[in-house]
Amino acid sequence: MFTPGAVEPVPPMVGTWTPGWGKIMTSLLTSGPSSGTWPAANTGYWHPVSIPTTCVAKRMWWVNGATVSATYNLEAGIYLDGGFKPGAKLITTGSVAQGTLNVVQFADITDTVLPPGLYWLWLSCSSTNATVMRLASGDTGLTPIVVFQQASVGPGSAPTTATPAEATTTLLHAFGFSTTTIT
């Protein structure tokens, strides 16, 4: 008798914490998400995501915090893996003005097919006054292991090829991509 294997459906929202897709154990989550300021102006962060089945990224998203301004800009995107660290830029939103406080903000990208594999989600922000939702981990050593950063690459200037360094922040931002266009 043939027994079919399990199928991994494509979730509508994919992020570092997405069960079965994210690379960070949700059991490490101790609180949040909560609003907090961006760690360093014009610095971007890569979070890993492991995609088990082919999907199409249609929009990027992040969650704005309690203090927002259209003068603050963000850029989100997806990078290919470069050997267990971020590699080449695949797609980004370009520079996007921050929108409404305390809600998910979507930004369109060209529909991008993502075959199974390891990818790196990118988010940068122009100002340390901007706030976004982030998650706290109970393991202080977690972030340098899984998150990379690059400075002097503000929104609109996401590097074509990553030059990643270990993250110096302990923050885990809530962002990712959407496989739907539901708003």
């Binding site: 008798m1 043939f2 027994t3 079919p4 399990a6 199928v7 991994e8 459906p9 494509v10 979730p11 509508p12 929202m13 992020g15 914490w17 997405t18 069960p19 079965g20 949700t26 059991s27 490490l28 989550l29 101790t30 609180s31 998400p33 998203w61 969650v63 305390n102 809600v103 998910v104 939702m133 109970g138 809530a174 990712g176 539901i182 708003t183």
Partner: protein, 178 residues
């Protein structure tokens, strides 16, 4: 269709549950459930869930709270927003327990589906995970404000920026092996 509330407890059945606790994309450390008022009349909540195997949906279930003078509708939608099966309007019951309702046997394939729940009051309570609007949004939870308790044939759903709880509900099905 005849709706029957079964008296025997869920754990005694040889059935598999796809539900908001074990099959959704919601995550929360130390999450606990509590009796939560529905809050918005006719606000249908749609929670995306993973169905890893094909199967036949036999029943829908919900965890009611102790306050419940109104009616509910519990259903299952495909990823495109088409209603596959639902209980139709039925009394909340105020049972403060897990309540399962028999529905028309419905075969579904593995994939992404949405569990749906609607209530025609603001005050009926349901056991729910207390969470945050940010977490429900990034978990892909959607909602739709309707004009009645009956779930629509086609959902016109949207991201809900204020929903801060995740009701405990699910579908019970038997797995089919090809």
């Amino acid at each position: 269709m005849t709706l029957t509330t079964r008296a025997d407890p869920l754990w005694r059945r040889q059935a598999h549950s796809v539900d908001t606790l074990t099959s959704s994309y919601h995550f929360q450390a130390g999450g606990t459930s509590s009796a939560t008022a529905w809050g918005t009349q006719y606000r249908a909540i749609y929670v995306p869930v993973r169905v890893p195997y094909p199967g036949v949906v036999k029943e829908m279930w919900v965890n009611t709270g102790s306050t419940g003078a109104g009616n509910i509708d519990v259903g299952l939608y495909d990823a495109a927003g088409t209603r596959l099966v639902s209980t139709g309007s039925t009394a909340h019951g105020a049972g403060n327990t897990l309540v399962a309702f028999e529905v028309t046997d419905t075969t579904i394939q593995a994939g992404l589906y949405y569990l749906a729940l609607n209530n025609d009051t603001t005050t009926d309570t349901f056991r729910a995970l207390t969470t945050s609007a940010a977490l429900t949004m990034i978990s892909g939870v959607l909602s739709e404000t309707l004009g009645a308790v009956t779930l629509p044939a086609t959902a016109t759903w949207a991201v809900d920026t204020t929903l801060a709880f995740l009701p405990k509900m699910g579908a019970l099905f038997v797995t089919e092996l090809a």
